[in-house]
């Protein structure tokens, strides 16, 4: 390799490397909406907001929808008597890298009609925002926090949007993004220092944190050295 080895930090400034952004994500085979009542319903109800429809793994119907209208469509899917998706199994994120949009994936189940449906919303990298569905499903709360933490997607209207897996004061970005370097952005020394400087007082009682070491009673380094040398201080 003749080219000078580049730091991972350079990639942050230069942006993602070019790739075939035209290739649609998701894989699977072309789906027939007639196979799934909810897909049919979505297409009838929100014809202009349904962008693509594919079938994965035989019978997993995946519908790409317009992120701007996601909340409206999810509300309909939850409340319409023919849909009744009362269970939000999973909210997760996807980043294919290469400048392609970050996606938010909703995995839903209807315990009434025994239907499974997956919705995906594409969010351009410069506008990672989507409406929160916490008001529709309580289970979305922590799932959306996780997507925010690891992908940096902002959920508008979320009651408590803060990091959930990474430390609260984590300043290196959102780790599951493709442009995030595997070992983090800071040096190991800086990472260790930051980790030990976390505000543990926020999570634990003072008596839980008490070490029992009283500074006046325990010998200081100088006293110890004097003792070792056999002199008295």
């Amino acid at each position: 390799m003749t080219e000078e080895k580049k730091s991972g930090l350079d990639a942050i400034d230069e942006g993602p490397t070019a790739s075939d952004a035209a290739t649609p994500t998701g894989g699977g085979t072309a789906g027939d909406p007639a196979d799934h009542a909810s897909v049919q319903g979505l297409m009838a109800q929100f014809s202009d907001a349904v962008m693509r429809h594919r079938v994965n793994a035989g019978d997993q119907h995946v519908v790409w929808i317009d992120a701007a209208r996601s909340h409206e469509m999810l509300t309909w899917l939850r409340d319409d008597p023919d849909q009744l998706y009362d269970m939000m199994s999973d909210v997760t994120g996807l980043d294919y890298g290469g400048g392609r949009p970050v996606e938010v994936v909703y995995q839903m189940y209807s315990t009434t009609h025994k239907h499974i449906l997956r919705l995906r919303c594409e969010l351009p990298l410069d506008a990672l925002e989507i409406d929160s569905v916490c008001d529709l499903w309580k289970s979305a709360n922590w799932l959306e926090r996780e997507v925010y933490d690891l992908f940096g997607v902002t959920f508008k209207g979320h009651p408590d949007l803060r990091r959930i897996l990474m430390p609260d004061d984590y300043a290196e970005g959102h780790p599951l993004r493709k442009d995030f370097p595997l070992r983090g952005r800071f040096s190991r020394a800086e990472q260790t220092r930051r980790a030990l400087n976390q505000e543990v007082e926020r999570y634990y009682l003072a008596e839980d944190l008490d070490t029992g070491l009283v500074p006046q009673e325990a010998p200081t380094a100088e006293v110890r050295r004097a003792e070792d040398a056999g002199g008295d201080l």
Binding site: A171, P181, R183, A189, T192, L196, T211, D228
Partner: protein, 228 residues
Amino acid sequence: MGLKDVLPGSGPSATSGGIFGAGSPTFLTSKVDWIINWGRRNSLWPMPFGTACCAIEMMASAASNYDLARFGMERMSFSPRQADVLICAGRVPYKLAPVLRRIWDQMPQPKWCISMGACASSGGVFDVYSMVQGIDTIIPVDVYIPGCPPRPEGLIYGLMMIQEKIRQESLTKHFEHRAEDPALVALPRASDLEVVGLTGPFGNSTQQEQLTGGVAVRAESPSDDLLS
């Protein structure tokens, strides 16, 4: 091997009805060092800090098949305040680092530490953004046990190495791991250079020039999108 076999002056004496039966002496002599170390090494209560699969092996070690209690680890001490040896079994993420450090600080002296398995000792396969690359960057370690995870025999051997270490200690000397400055509570054990050295040849993917240059600058002024 009982006290009778190893203590000086334990031969037959004229006095009968001694503490070890007829013909044994009615007194014991010993060195303070010896008797204290004997007590310490045969009553090592482990503080289990189990975070992953190594903890399964640690539990197996304590269960009846391997029975750690045979060697004096009578029970797992789930409070650091009654523990003698910290067994860090499993990977430690950075978010858990202050907890591990605090538990170590809370253990009374004298105390020892075992780093069990590859992840605790070096980060193992988790050479990633979230994982502490060896707990020796945070707390002092006496014995490292290799393995992924080590078998219970490995853990027992490690504990017996601690016992051997205790046997050679003396009250007249301060040991490095005993010398604890309260001012250093919750601070990294290793300096920046040591951390970089301990975390292996790869350092950090974004900064092979570990301690110089742009990274510190980046740390102080992360761009807005990093903080958002």
